[in-house]
Amino acid sequence: MSGTFVGMPAFPEAAHEAVNNPTLRANLRHATHTIRAKRAVAVSELDDWAALREAGKQIKDHTLRHLDRYLVQLEESVTAAGGVVHWAADADEANRIVVELVRATGESEVVKVKSMATQEIGLNEALEAAGIHAYETDLAELIVQLGKDRPSHILVPAIHRNRGEIRDIFTREMSEWGRPAPEGLTDTPAELAEAARLHLREKFLRAKVGVSGANFMVAETGTMMVVESEGNGRMCLTLPETLISVVGIEKTVPTWRDLEVFLQTLPRSSTAERMNPYTSMWTGTTDSDTADGPRTFHLVLIDNGRTDTLADEVGRQALRCIRCSACLNVCPVYERAGGHAYGSVYPGPIGAILSPQLRGTQSEIDASLPYASSLCGACYEVCPVAIDIPEVLVHLRERIAEGGPVTREGNKAVLKPAKGHAAERAAMRAARWAFGHPGALRTGQRLASRTRRFHPRTLPGPGRAWSDTRDLPAVPAEPFRDWWQRTQGGKDVPK
């Protein structure tokens, strides 16, 4: 499971392995069903949930509509508080900036707070290539890093691993990275957590540079916010002298007050908690020797496909996402295919609409993601910012099947239909023609009825995908419309 996401096969092939891996299926099923049930309870405690959801949606939509203005305000506030703001158009630029900032400190190690944005741009790999070791401090993220694995869930990156697997990874790998795992480590949660705590404490006390993301950035004050459950993030935010926060531009909210909505909806949607155990906020730098917090603060704002996504009227709602992962936990496709099949740090329903927008639909995996859904709508129902994921999926399918206008790197372009859809397009056209000519449809139905004894229950060619696991229904002797015409709806014949 190691390696990068580049060159992933299309979703159906990538999912094949997971669907047929009983351990993985069981791990995922257990984890998602547990959290899904807890979330439902946590949400049902609030009788104004619908209003909070609507408020979250409105705040995000408003901010996205005026993002240029709020970003300028954010830059001013951060600068006024002693921070330095850097703008990165894409992943390479962001990585270059961070590498230079770390080099300027003379350090060759950084501690990291769990962050989707730095995973998105592949920062750890870029730092490694520059001779800088990045240590993940979130427990699940640590498991993924030590296991040379990839994250498979937004909130619980190691959700696909069970306790036994984690014990093995710790025993095998910890000594390579620092303090080894204790002798005779068992797979009880308390022992595993203690092993991680001891291993990480060394890193915290030594680190001079911290790297974080942020859940929210407040434009009016320049305040960054991280919410977490373990407290390791707080250590990374307060102990190092230099803090570098790498954040997607869409994480902006206009005012401090707006946080009141998300601090209610985010924890309940993600971990089914009423409140986050740790909510850390920092504004610029501290200049006293006794106060906690960084002496130097850098904010790297990344675009990486976000303004292009913003240009799409239907698709832009994906940028409202607050990464709660509720949609993953209810998704029947995610539950069976696993997070890796989505070929991105953003798996599940949100990944299926975000990745093909941020990266474009050129690659095989990105062109297959919009189809990785049965459109059951469970994701939309749970989403605390009401992203209509099925609507965006269908919109992106259209882009792939029929082509259409897109914005890439700020330029408008018209995409051609993706390759490999010619047969489907022809079939859709033929069906559309038959449906436009009821006479033709009827002839087809009659033909099917007359030859019904010859219809196989299994199919050759592409139809095998269906009939490998399911039988086809028998063709009836007479289509309904023939019966209707013959009997005028049963009036002409005795019942």
Partner: protein
């Protein structure tokens, strides 16, 4: 009252018994049913697969065929949701693309008049006891488009509970998708089949004779999985249960 039956292309071609059951049921309840012969397909498969521009003429055709009727009744939650939820959206998109109001105006008349069968029975006719008799144990699967698209709520269950002789058993994981999803079943066969299998296993655990739903597309997928596994359970459309009476059992 005179209504138009929109049977849907799948039912017309593969499940004519469901159509006959709807006619029998509505006629028994004093509704005059018409079947406009020019009807074909609502365009859902095209739309959901990404061929919105191919779906538009089908939607226009639907409106032409049905606009004059007082009410349009369909025994399919997903086709009902297509008309009610997605036709307005198609109109908006056409407008956003600078093609004016024509599509929206053409589609508007049919949207509020289109009812899924159980919705029509409970909301328009105001009945939950339709006088049916069905001596079997039944478990009900609320399909996704009926559940979340149309918000059918407990209407189908209330109708089933009023059927004499019928014992209703709760389906574990009822809200979970069966894995059909139109072209999803063919494009992602592994995941789709795994979802179907779990649905069947859950249904079997109830010990019921019959798995009932208000959408034959989902039942085709679930039923196909059942026959492959040689389970004793049968998939049956809710219309066929509601049409059944002691005096006139369904064929």
């Amino acid at each position: 009252m005179r209504v138009a039956l929109f049977l849907t292309c799948v039912n017309d071609t593969l499940y004519p018994d469901t159509g006959r059951a709807v006619v029998k049921l509505l006629t028994r309840l004093g509704v005059e049913v018409d079947f406009p012969m020019a009807q074909t397909c609502c365009g859902q498969a095209h739309y959901n697969t990404g061929y919105r521009h191919q779906a538009e003429p089908l939607a226009r055709h639907f409106s032409d065929v049905f606009a004059e009727y007082e009410a349009i009744v369909t025994p399919s939650g997903s086709c009902g949701a297509m008309v009610r939820e997605l036709y307005p959206r198609m109109g908006e998109r056409a407008r956003a693309e600078g093609r004016g109001d024509t599509l929206a105006t053409t589609l508007a008349p049919v949207v509020p008049k289109t009812y899924e069968l159980t919705e029509f029975l409970v909301d328009v006719l105001g009945v939950t006891d339709v006088g049916a008799y069905y001596p079997h144990t039944v478990t009900y699967h609320p399909t996704c488009h009926g559940l979340r698209g149309l918000g059918l709520g407990d209407r189908p269950r209330r109708l089933l509970q009023a059927v004499r002789g019928l014992e209703l058993r709760e389906l574990p994981g009822a809200d979970e998708c069966c894995g059909f999803g139109g072209t999803f079943a063919v494009k992602n066969p592994d995941v789709s089949a795994a979802m179907g299998l779990d649905k069947v296993r859950n249904a079997e655990s109830t010990g019921a004779d019959v798995l009932c739903a208000a959408d034959n597309s989902c039942l085709m997928h679930i039923g196909g999985t059942m026959t492959r596994l040689s389970t004793d359970m049968r998939p049956v459309h809710i219309a066929e249960i509601l049409a059944n009476t002691e005096g006139e059992p369904n064929a």
